[in-house]
């Protein structure tokens, strides 16, 4: 076994071939550096976030408590009250960032995301229906019996399935997927509005969280199932990287390079839907993360498609960071989903304007 690090004979700077025995790959320093920096920032922001609140705790004390080195009175606050919230935010950001990268590469369109494709809205429909209808109809009672997160999960998965079935026509086409997704998004939004209009005022207030996305009152009950789901989904998603590097070309080129297109497309879309549904079932539809973060990530790492790992980690930084800002800087504790929407909406406009300019060139 010999490990080698060498600069390729040709090609641009900043990439290094790594070979250990029969294993070989190319490392680009920016694609290694960006996730590393994101990870460090994520840990830092998480520690700060756990420390902030009515009972402030210093960053070093937070870290010591989490590592079990310090068993002071703050242990309960750190481990049971604040850590779950940050862990949920972190995992939700991770899932949404990767889901966005998968959708955007698949559709070859930076506008594709679980938000624009209606998946997150579908999850909202499930959650809101469970809250609003549980007392009024038998179907609602069944849905309510599952619990709101499960209803959200079902809503997201059903919408994803509808998207897949309606967009499938002897294969999946990115444009068709986006168009069908926009239609599903409209239907889902209308359903949420209709449900809220007919809801009791208390139900409407409870349901509202599932329309904006929030990390308020998250406990280990949300964090643990989400962590288990991601333990399965994340390795599978990262394993699609090789297929994505070919899938980003046109269909003909991808097949000409030996990709089994229908299988690869199905795997990518289903993984993205599952990641989104899992995230929304834990914290509601925290919008724009999946849309914005992959495009930021690809600008940081360079290259031709959103990097999966970097998108996930930057998504986690955005959600945890936005949650920290809403809790501390802003005068009133807003749901984190509103802040991400405020950041995301102008970005979407910029993307649209820029897209138009490019297409007229």
């Amino acid at each position: 076994m010999s490990a080698t690090l060498e600069r390729p004979v040709s090609g641009p700077r900043g990439r290094t071939a790594v070979r250990i025995g029969p294993v070989s790959t190319v490392l680009r320093w920016r694609q290694v550096l960006v996730p590393l920096v994101a990870l460090v920032v994520l840990l830092l922001v998480s520690a700060v976030s756990i420390g902030r609140g009515d009972f402030p705790i210093g960053v070093t004390d937070v870290v010591r408590t989490l590592l079990g080195l310090d068993e002071g009175p703050q242990e309960f606050i750190v481990r049971q009250l604040r850590a779950p919230r940050v862990v949920v935010g972190l995992l939700v950001g991770l899932a949404l960032g990767i889901a966005g990268a998968l959708f955007q590469t698949f559709a070859r369109n930076p506008l594709a995301s679980p938000d624009t494709l209606g998946i997150t809205v579908g999850a909202s429909v499930g959650a809101v229906a469970a809250i609003v209808l549980s007392g009024t109809s038998s179907a609602g009672a069944v849905l309510g019996g599952f619990g709101v997160p499960i209803a959200a999960l079902i809503g997201g998965l059903v919408t994803g399935l509808l998207l897949f079935v309606l967009a499938w026509r002897a294969g999946l086409d990115g444009y068709r997927l986006v168009l069908v997704g926009i239609a599903l998004w409209s239907v889902g939004s209308a359903l949420v509005d209709w449900l809220l209009t007919n809801a009791q005022i208390y139900d409407a207030a409870a349901a509202y969280v599932w329309v904006t996305g929030s990390l308020n009152a998250r406990t280990w009950d949300q964090a643990v199932p989400l962590a288990l789901a991601l333990a399965v989904l994340l390795p599978l998603a990262l394993a699609t990287g090789r297929a994505l590097s070919v899938l980003q070309f046109g269909d003909d080129t991808a097949r000409g390079l030996g990709l089994r297109l229908p299988i690869a497309q199905t795997a990518v879309v289903l993984l993205a839907v599952a990641l989104t549904a899992a995230a929304v079932s834990a914290a509601g539809p925290i919008t724009f993360v999946a849309l914005v973060v992959p495009q930021v990530a690809v600008r940081l790492t360079g290259g031709s498609r959103p990097p999966l790992l970097a998108s996930g980690l930057l998504g986690a930084v955005l959600v945890v960071g936005a949650d920290l800002v809403t809790r501390t800087v802003l005068p009133e504790a807003l749901p984190v989903g509103i802040l991400t929407a405020v950041i995301g909406a102008p970005y979407l406009l910029w993307l649209l304007v820029r897209g138009r300019r490019r297409s007229t060139l």
Partner: protein, 280 residues
């Protein structure tokens, strides 16, 4: 670990009688939904041949090329790759033997030439073996051979049309396939770049022993570069043979509704079409 054999280097023009059939359409019928585009077509591409498929717009020549490249499944008959049904051959196995260049292929924004050419190695790679020494040598050679080494670090979408087509051909070379199918590789290029691209394809055939089939619009260029012309009209193969055999005044009238004179090309001696007027 792979059964891939390196493409034989320059093997010169093979003797026609000894050449074996690499790719064949056997009573192929092609349709989009209910519209039949190609009816019961037979075609054989022999080892080391250079074939140009010509015909008027909408005659089904690109559709035929797609079927030969396994992008379109025939509704009748079959396509045979080295005597084996291509539909039953795994995609990856096909991709090691047969490369294709679609019409106006799209490269993702920001992709560099080196990355594009490196992608040609995809069928030879696996999850653990993503960038072997072999891959690196082949890609470097492909860039060098197509004069793209200088531009390796540039983004494909910033290149001129001619350079871009060179980059794609470089990728096809890196894929290392014996067979190469090109769908109108000269579309949108000015004449000088059309010549440049066809010279490159011609060198792939002559120096690297590639079996080439190309869909072309320009009959004079097709006659210059291809050894064999195949003329199609309304989904039917009308004529096949050397350029001199196929490009006749009668054929141009029948296939293209064009009255024309055929004169020898003053440079190469191949037939040259001088149009007179369109026939009604």
């Amino acid at each position: 670990m792979t059964a891939h054999t390196v493409t034989p280097a320059a093997q010169g023009a093979p003797a026609p009688e000894a050449a074996r059939v690499r790719l064949a359409a056997d009573h192929v019928r092609l349709a989009y939904d209910d519209t039949v585009v190609v009816h019961d077509l037979d075609l054989e591409l022999t080892d080391g041949s250079f074939t140009a498929i010509v015909g008027p717009n909408g005659c089904g020549k690109s559709t035929l090329l797609r079927a030969l490249g396994r992008l379109l499944r025939p509704t009748g008959g079959q396509v045979l790759l080295d005597g084996r049904s291509i539909a039953r051959t795994p995609t990856r196995e096909v991709a090691k033997v047969l490369g294709l260049l679609p019409q106006s292929p799209i490269a993702p924004e920001g992709l560099t030439v080196a990355d594009l050419v490196a992608r040609g190695r995809h069928p030879h790679q696996s999850w653990v073996r993503q960038w072997s020494r072999d891959d690196e040598a082949v890609v470097a050679e492909a860039l060098e051979w197509t004069d793209m080494a200088e531009l390796a670090g540039r983004a494909v979408d910033e290149l001129s049309g001619g350079q871009r087509q060179r980059a794609w051909i470089s990728m096809a070379l890196a894929q290392g396939t014996d067979l190469l199918l090109l769908d109108e590789p000269t579309t949108y290029l000015d004449l000088a770049h059309q010549i440049d691209v066809l010279e490159l394809v011609g060198r792939l055939h002559a120096e690297r022993g590639r079996t080439v089939a190309v869909v072309l619009h320009d009959l004079n260029l097709a006659a210059r570069y291809a050894e064999r012309l195949v003329a199609m009209k309304d989904g039917v193969l009308v004529a096949s043979g050397t350029p001199a055999e196929v490009l006749t005044e009668q054929l141009l009238a029948d296939v293209f509704d064009l009255e024309a004179r055929i004169v020898p090309d003053p440079v190469t001696g191949t037939p040259m079409v001088v149009p007179v007027r369109r026939l009604r």
